[in-house]
Amino acid sequence: MTDPILEISGLSISFRTPRGAVRALRDVSLAVPRDRVVGVVGESGCGKTTLISAVLALLAENAVVEGGTIRFEGEDVLAMDPGALRALRGRRIAMVFQDPMTAMNPVLSIARQITDIQYRDDASPAAKRERAVAMLRRVGIADPEQRIDGYPHHLSGGMRQRVSIAMALLMNPSLLIADEPTTALDVTTEAQIVRLIESLRADFRGSILFVSHNLGLIAELCDEVVVMYAGEIVERGDVRAIFRDARHPYTRLLLECDPARLEQRRRQLPTIPGTVPDLARLPQGCVFAPRCPIALDACRAGPIAPVVVGPGREARCIRALET
């Protein structure tokens, strides 16, 4: 296997706030290999969005990178100057956002926006438009010649998400980041978008970093999965191995709480008791220890290092190797 397209190692990011430093990401390491789909899963506020903002170097002003590197195709993203970053974004890494309702400029026509993002090309406006129409047809927009002259509010949510995907893929990036691309859509539309992403994998040559809190989607779309909790990666590895035999108690509880995996009817959905810790006042040891059903005293003593639990698999738990 060649070098991974995206390699993050030991990344720690905190936000300066009036309450003190909020340590949003701590010692995050992951790799996205070529032509693979890597899923990132975790609760709201676990650092998923911070992670992908860091990859595009689009962090908020009060964010501080405390350590670690992000290497994209061998280049250090965090050391790039603004010009190199702009060349990176869009052309080599593209992103699809969560809410298609707000991800497009409401006062510009779709044609204007979708030809606008090809500004680095010398092609004639007609050629750009033609390429845009072809891409819209590819993502399943009926009548793209007419639709392209409409405005975002003329389209439904699912249609808009298709247009966003078309815009992201237009420059043929080697990495596509999808930030919960179906969360804002209803279930049927979600299924259509998932089908679309699956079908695009066939002719889109590149890797996908797929962020979601929907375990079912991750299982369906991804090759590998990264489970995040309170700013740390608690478990990562092959998606089927993790879904079959999760080694971290958080992953296990998460899987138990997935409504799609419940084995019998229950009056109440199971939940994980407790809440995510305050990222400004982290517990001393394992971040999950306060909610963990199998925590030992040793878990609260000091930081936990990731444990290799199989080929390409890691879990950040001292009891990961117990059966």
Binding site: L58, F97, T102, N105, I117, G150
Partner: protein
């Protein structure tokens, strides 16, 4: 599919439908008519007026309105009608030039303040506040005393005092737009700050600011007339509504039509632009007056 095509067609004729709605609004139609009248009289001043506005005729001074001098003559025998229509040129020139300039500069500074680094925002807001903390007329008096009265001085005063008005509005709009996801989406696709500002922020802020500008035109006209009335505006003998008013003021007992000739155009223009601006705001601002 049909509805999409129809919507697209509706989008294309947005200008035409706005005009239709404007004409249906009685005040808007009245405002548009007044503005058209004033603009036409200023444009065709040399055709409409039989005399030059600065042509003296001392023997005929303070003449009553006659068929030759429709609005009479002033104390130097100049034809008042000619001075009124040529004064319209000055009023419109001052207002359009200064509104255009302050709109442009205000837009750019406002976008920079809203999108740029924090220190630039603080600096620009400090400058805006400093300018706005002077009463306009006191500021104008100080500037005229320093650099002398002229057409350019009037424009300078108006531009400097109204840049903060546009700048503040544009800054606020930019601040709220920049947190919008579509700006983040554009940046994630490689757009730099210039591209984000001019391709994405500008089309979103131009509407409200243009309406504000149309409401600013009458304000500028009254400032120009006010300064000229005080003798601090355009230099005589260049005609201005303010100086016509001032000339007539001295002879108000004998020739009241001079006051009317200077005052009525100011009132009509102010009314016209205000009605037009308000009607446009109602049409283009979706938060105000729904279908009326």
């Amino acid at each position: 599919m049909v509805s999409v095509a129809a919507a697209a067609a509706g989008e294309e004729s947005r200008g035409a439908s706005a005009l239709r709605r404007l004409l249906r609004d009685p005040l808007g139609a009245f405002g548009l008519a007044l503005v058209a009248l004033i603009v036409a009289s200023a444009l065709f001043a040399d055709v409409l007026a039989a005399y030059q506005p600065t042509q003296l005729d001392i023997r005929n001074r303070l003449s009553e309105p006659t068929t030759l001098h429709w609005l009479g003559t002033d104390q130097l025998g100049r034809d008042t009608f000619a001075r009124v229509v040529y004064g319209g040129r000055i009023a419109l020139l001052v207002s359009l030039v200064s509104v255009g300039l302050s709109l442009t500069v205000g837009l750019v500074l406002g976008m920079l303040a809203g999108y740029g680094p924090r220190w630039l925002d603080n600096l620009l807001m400090l400058a805006f506040d400093a300018v706005r903390s002077f009463p306009t007329i006191m500021f104008a008096l100080a500037v005229v005393t320093l650099i002398g009265p002229s057409l350019e001085t009037v424009i300078l005063i108006v531009v400097v005092t109204s840049i903060p008005v546009y700048g503040r509005i544009v800054r606020t709009q930019t601040l709220s737009l920049k947190t919008n996801e579509f700006v983040l989406a554009e940046r994630s696709l490689g757009a730099g700050p210039i591209r984000v500002l001019f391709h994405h922020v500008l089309p979103n802020v131009i509407g409200p600011v243009a309406i504000l500008a149309s409401m600013e035109v009458p304000v500028v006209i009254t400032i120009e007339a006010g300064l000229s009335f005080l003798g601090l505006g355009v230099r005589p003998p260049t005609p201005s509504w303010g100086s016509i008013l001032n000339d007539g003021y001295a002879f108000v007992r004998d020739t009241p039509w001079l006051i009317a000739a200077g005052g009525l155009p100011i009132i009509l223009t102010t009314l016209g632009f205000t009605f037009l601006g308000e009607a446009l705001r109602d049409i283009f601002d979706p938060r105000l007056g729904r279908e009326r």
